[in-house]
C-alpha cells in the first residue's frame, strides 16, 4: 500500500471546486508525485454538494480509498458528506468568516484550521482567489513546496496575463503564511517530490488523444454527460490535423453523420452515453450490414432512463453486446485504465477498418472524470500504427470488379473481408444498403446469397479471433486458488486490493479483461481456480453471466450499483467476505 495522502476540496457547484482541485493535482504531478483523482458531483450547475478528491503518493496510485487527510471545506455539507472518511488526524481548512461556516465545529478529534480565505484573497487582489488561498494553506499543512503550486498557477492563468498569475501566487502565499503564523503546529505531512516527469489526464482526454493519434479526422456528437469531454478534447485540436468536429441536432444524427463521414473515407467516431446509445442503436445494424467501419465510444453512466447522470455504473454491457434487432457482428472493447483508453482507442479504429464493422469503445464515468498521472512513455505516439484495411484505389480496383467491370463491395472472400472504395474513385461505384444484398451491394432476397452474406459477415469475426490478440491483463499471484475477474475500470481498485489482501495472507489472481467481444476464453483459468469472483459495477452481474456462459462454471459475484465506484479497501473486504474470511467489520 503506497504511502499516500488523501486530499479534497468541497463546496457547492459553482464554487470553482473542479478547477481548484485540478490546479492542486497538476502541482503534485509537476512535483513528480503520482496522483489519482475522483469527483463527487451532481447534475446541476449551481448549488448542491461537489468535491474534487486527490490521492497522491510517490508510488503509483490507481484507486480511491475511504480516508481523507486534508479537507478544504467551503460548506458544512462538505464535512457532513465526508464524515466517514475523516479520522482523528484529519485537518479541515475552512473560512469561519463565511456566514454559512460561522457556527462550524470540527467533528470528533479532527483538527480545524480557520483561515479567512475570502479576506486574504481580497487583500491579494480579489475574492475570486479564495480557493487559491486555501490551496496555499493546504501546501503549508502538507509540507508541499509552494513553488510547484506556482507552476500550476502559471499554467492555469498564464493566458490571462502576468498580473493575474502574480496575484494568484500572492494569494496562495497569504494562505500558507496565515497557517504558519496563526497555528502553532508543524506540518504533519512532508510531501516528498521527485524528478520524475509525469502527464496528468482523464479518460475522456485519453480517448480523444488516442483517436487523434489513430487518425480520426471526423467526429460528430451530441453533448451528454459524461462523454462530452471526448468531444471537447477533440474540438480545437482535431482542426490542427485537418479534421472536423460537428455538433449534431441529436444522437440519431450524430451516429448517421459519423457513418456518412466514414463512407466518404474519413476515420470517424462519435461518443455518447447510455441514453445516446439507445438512439444510436437504430443505426448500428446499418453500419454492420453496409460493412462500414465506425467507432462508437460509450462512456457509461448510471441508468436506466436518465438514471443518475453523474454516477458510476457498468450497466450497458448487454446493451452493447446485444443491442439492435437481428444479428449484428460487432466488437466491444473496454479499456481498464486511463492509459489503456488511449491504446484501445487506437486499436478500435484499426479493428473497425480492418474488419469493416462497428466497434464499441466503452469507458465509464469513473474513468472519464478521474485524472491520473502516467509516465509519458505510456502514450507512445511512435508505436501507433494505422491500418486502414482493404481499401482499394484506381490501381487495385480491377482485382475486385466482375467481368462487367462492376465493383464488389461485399465480395465473398475466405476471410470474410471485402474491399472498400470511397466515392470519387473511378471504377468503384456501388450501392450499399441496409437491405440484404449481393456482392455488388444490390438488394436481394435470394436464399443462397443471404446465407453467403451472413456467413461472410460472421466469418470476419472468426478471422479477427484468429488474427488479433484478445488477451487479458493479469496481476497478483498466478498460482492463487482465488481468481478475481474484472472488466473495464475496476482494475485499479482491485490491483490495490490485492496488496491489502496479501497483508491478511490472502493471495488472489486478478484477470482484468479489456475485450468483451470477442473475448478471451477463460475456461482453463476458471477451472484452475477453487473460487472465481467476478466484480463489476452493476446489479445483475452482466459480465459474470458471460463468464458462466463461456466456462459452464458458476462464479461468485461482487456487484456495486450505488453510483459510486469500487474503492480498494472496500473491495478487499468484499473479497474476504466472499471467501468466508473474517472481515474488518466482523472482527
Amino acid at each position: 500500500m503506497p504511502e499516500d495522502l488523501n486530499w479534497a476540496v468541497g463546496g457547492e457547484a459553482g464554487d470553482g471546486i473542479d478547477s481548484t482541485g485540478k490546479i492542486f493535482a497538476q502541482a503534485l504531478s509537476r512535483a513528480g508525485r503520482h496522483v489519482f483523482t475522483s469527483k463527487d458531483f451532481a447534475s446541476r450547475i449551481r448549488g448542491g454538494y461537489t468535491a474534487y478528491k486527490v490521492r497522491t503518493s510517490v508510488d503509483r496510485v490507481e484507486s480511491v480509498v475511504d480516508r481523507l487527510d486534508i479537507l478544504i471545506a467551503l460548506t458544512q455539507r462538505t464535512v457532513d458528506e465526508n464524515l466517514d472518511e475523516l479520522h482523528d488526524d484529519s485537518i479541515i481548512i475552512y473560512d469561519g468568516e463565511r456566514s454559512m461556516m460561522s457556527d462550524f465545529e470540527t467533528p470528533g478529534e479532527t483538527i480545524g484550521l480557520d483561515v479567512p480565505l475570502k479576506r486574504l484573497a481580497e487583500d491579494a487582489g480579489g475574492a475570486i482567489m479564495r480557493n487559491i488561498v486555501a490551496l496555499g494553506a493546504a501546501c503549508a499543512v502538507s509540507g508541499f513546496n509552494i513553488e510547484y503550486l506556482d507552476e500550476s498557477l502559471e499554467k492555469r492563468f498564464g493566458g490571462k496575463g502576468e498580473a493575474i498569475v502574480d496575484n494568484n501566487k500572492a494569494a496562495a502565499r497569504a494562505g500558507a503564511e496565515y497557517v504558519e503564523e496563526e497555528y502553532d503546529f508543524s506540518a504533519p505531512y512532508d510531501l516528498e517530490t521527485t524528478d520524475n516527469d509525469y502527464v496528468l489526464l482523464n479518460g475522456g482526454e485519453a480517448i480523444g488523444m488516442g483517436a487523434l493519434a489513430a487518425g480520426c479526422r471526423f467526429y460528430a456528437g451530441y453533448p451528454i454527460t459524461p462523454a462530452t469531454d471526448v468531444m471537447e478534447y477533440l474540438k480545437g485540436r482535431i482542426e490542427d490535423y485537418g479534421g472536423i468536429v460537428v455538433q449534431a441536432e441529436d444522437e440519431l444524427s450524430a451516429v448517421n453523420m459519423t457513418l456518412g463521414g466514414a463512407r466518404a473515407g474519413a476515420r470517424a467516431m462519435t461518443a455518447t452515453s447510455g441514453p445516446g446509445i439507445d438512439l444510436m442503436t437504430e443505426t448500428f445494424g446499418l453500419v454492420a450490414t453496409s460493412e462500414t467501419p465506425l467507432v462508437i465510444c460509450n462512456v457509461m453512466r448510471s441508468g436506466p432512463s436518465t438514471g443518475m447522470p453523474t454516477k458510476q455504473e457498468q450497466g450497458d454491457l448487454n446493451q452493447m453486446l446485444y443491442g439492435g434487432h437481428g444479428e449484428i457482428p460487432r466488437f466491444v472493447l473496454a479499456p481498464t485504465n486511463i492509459a489503456e483508453c488511449f491504446h484501445k482507442a487506437v486499436e478500435a479504429f484499426n479493428l473497425a477498418e480492418k474488419y469493416q464493422l462497428p466497434v464499441y469503445l466503452t469507458s465509464d464515468l469513473s474513468l472519464a472524470v478521474t485524472e491520473q498521472t502516467f509516465e509519458p512513455e505510456e502514450f507512445d505516439m511512435e508505436a501507433v500504427e494505422i491500418d486502414r484495411g482493404k481499401v482499394v484505389d484506381e490501381e487495385t480496383i480491377g482485382e475486385w470488379q466482375n467481368e462487367k467491370g462492376q465493383f464488389k463491395p461485399h465480395a465473398i472472400t475466405d476471410d470474410g473481408i471485402s474491399p472498400r472504395s470511397f466515392p470519387g474513385t473511378d471504377g468503384g461505384a456501388h450501392m450499399s444498403t441496409g437491405l440484404e444484398h449481393d456482392e455488388l451491394g444490390r438488394r436481394t432476397e435470394d436464399t443462397d446469397m443471404r446465407i453467403e452474406q451472413v456467413d461472410k459477415r460472421d466469418r470476419k469475426v472468426d478471422t479477427a479471433r484468429e488474427r488479433e490478440d484478445w488477451g487479458y491483463r493479469e496481476f497478483g499471484d498466478a498460482e492463487a486458488d482465488t481468481l478475481i475477474l474484472s472488466w473495464g475500470s475496476n482494475e485499479g481498485a482491485m490491483r490495490e486490493a490485492i496488496g491489502m489482501l496479501a497483508e491478511d495472507d490472502i493471495d488472489v489472481r486478478l484477470i482484468s479483461v479489456p475485450y468483451i467481444f470477442p473475448r478471451p476464453d477463460l475456461t482453463d483459468e476458471v477451472e484452475a481456480a477453487e473460487e472465481t469472483i467476478v466484480i463489476e459495477c452493476n446489479s445483475t452481474g452482466q459480465f459474470a453471466d458471460l463468464i458462466e456462459h463461456d466456462t459452464l462454471s458458476r462464479v461468485q459475484r461482487i456487484n456495486k450499483y450505488s453510483g459510486v465506484r469500487f474503492k480498494a479497501d472496500e473491495l478487499a473486504e468484499e473479497v474476504k467476505a466472499a471467501l468466508g474470511e473474517p472481515t474488518e467489520v466482523e472482527a
Binding site: R30, E239, R263, P423
Partner: protein, 311 residues
C-alpha cells in the same frame, strides 16, 4: 486535381451512363411518379457533365429509397428518415463530391423532420429531393404527413383529423437557401429545377410531387399544373423571403383545392454553406479531409505535442 480520379474528370456524360448494367427493371408501379424523378435526375446530371463516380446518392426508406438502385453512381440506401445526416456528413468529409439525398414525404417531413430542419438551417451544400405523393406507398396506403385533412386510409378510416404539414413553408422557415416544387408530370421543368438545385451553393430542397397510382387513387395526377414562373398571377421576387412565404402559403392551400402550383419559390444567393462557415472560423480544413486519407504516401501526423499540454 483531386486525389479521387473520378472527380472533376470534365467530360461529356451520356444519360445512359447512369443506368446500371445489372439491376432488373424498376419495381415501381406502372404510372408511378418516381420514374420521372429518376429521368429528371439522369437528365440533370448529364446536362451538368457529372461523372457517375463523383456522385453520391443517399436515400431513405420507401419507394423513393429505391432511386439509387436504378441510378448508377456511388449510392447509399440508409434508414428511414436518416438520409440527410449521412449525406451532409459525406459532403463535409469530401466537399468535392456531388451529394444528392432523396426520400419520401414520410421520410423527410415525418420521421426525419428534425434532420430536415437542421440540415436546412445549416445550409449544407447538398440537394434534397422529397418524393411527395401524400401517402405511404411501400407499406400500402397509410396516411402520410402530407395527406390532406379528411383523407381516408386504412389507418384513418374516418378521414385524417390532421392538417397536412406545409413542406415548403417548413423548408423556408428552417433555412433552405433554395426551395422549389415540381411535379412528375412536368419533366422539362423537373430537370431544369434539378439542374438549378444541384448548381446552387447551399441546401436545395425540391418537393417533387409524385403521383401514386396504386395507393392514392383519389389523388390527382397533379394535372393541370401551373408553373408560377410562367404565370402572371404569381409575379414575385424569389430572392425575397416575405414574398416567397406568401406564394408558398397559397401554393400549399391550393394543392388541396386541386390546383397544382409548381416552380421556384425561393433562392438565397451568397449565403455561406456550413462548410464555408466552418472554414471562415477556422474549424474546417480547405483541403477535403477524405483526400488526405486517399494518398498512399500520406504521412500520418504524430501527436507528440498533445502530451505536453498534460504536463
Amino acid at each position: 486535381m483531386s486525389a479521387f480520379n473520378a472527380i472533376d474528370a470534365d467530360r461529356e456524360v451520356d444519360r445512359e451512363e447512369y443506368t446500371p448494367g445489372i439491376e432488373p427493371q424498376a419495381t415501381w408501379c406502372p404510372g408511378c411518379g418516381d420514374f420521372s424523378v429518376l429521368k429528371a435526375l439522369k437528365g440533370a446530371m448529364s446536362e451538368l457533365g457529372k461523372d457517375p463516380e463523383e456522385i453520391l446518392l443517399v436515400t431513405g426508406i420507401g419507394c423513393s429509397g429505391k432511386l439509387n438502385s436504378y441510378f448508377d453512381s456511388y449510392g447509399f440506401h440508409t434508414l428511414h428518415g436518416r438520409a440527410l445526416p449521412v449525406a451532409r456528413a459525406a459532403k463535409l468529409a469530401n466537399p468535392e463530391l456531388e451529394v444528392v439525398a432523396a426520400g419520401g414525404d414520410g421520410d423527410g417531413y415525418g420521421i426525419g423532420g428534425n434532420h430536415f430542419t437542421h440540415t436546412a438551417r445549416e445550409n449544407h451544400d447538398i440537394t434534397y429531393i422529397v418524393f411527395n405523393n401524400e401517402i405511404f406507398g411501400l407499406t400500402k396506403g397509410q396516411t402520410s404527413p402530407t395527406s390532406p385533412k379528411g383523407h381516408k386510409s386504412k389507418t384513418q378510416p374516418h378521414g385524417s383529423a390532421k392538417d397536412p404539414v406545409r413542406p415548403l413553408s417548413m423548408s423556408l422557415t428552417a433555412g433552405s437557401s433554395y426551395v422549389a416544387r415540381t411535379a412528375a408530370v412536368n419533366p422539362n421543368q423537373a430537370q431544369e429545377i434539378l439542374v438549378e438545385a444541384i448548381q446552387h451553393d447551399g441546401f436545395s430542397h425540391i418537393d417533387f410531387l409524385t403521383q401514386c397510382p396504386t395507393w392514392n387513387k383519389d389523388a390527382k395526377q397533379y394535372v393541370p399544373y401551373i408553373d408560377i414562373q410562367q404565370n402572371e398571377d404569381y409575379e414575385f421576387d424569389i430572392s425575397n423571403r416575405q414574398e416567397a412565404a406568401e406564394v408558398i402559403y397559397d401554393t400549399e392551400l391550393a394543392l388541396h383545392d386541386g390546383e397544382v402550383l409548381t416552380g421556384r419559390y425561393y433562392q438565397q444567393e451568397g449565403r455561406l454553406s456550413y462548410t464555408q462557415e466552418k472554414q471562415e472560423i477556422g474549424e474546417m480544413p480547405e483541403e477535403p479531409l477524405a483526400e488526405r486519407y486517399h494518398d498512399d504516401d500520406y504521412e500520418w501526423e504524430r501527436c507528440y505535442d498533445m502530451l505536453d499540454a498534460h504536463r
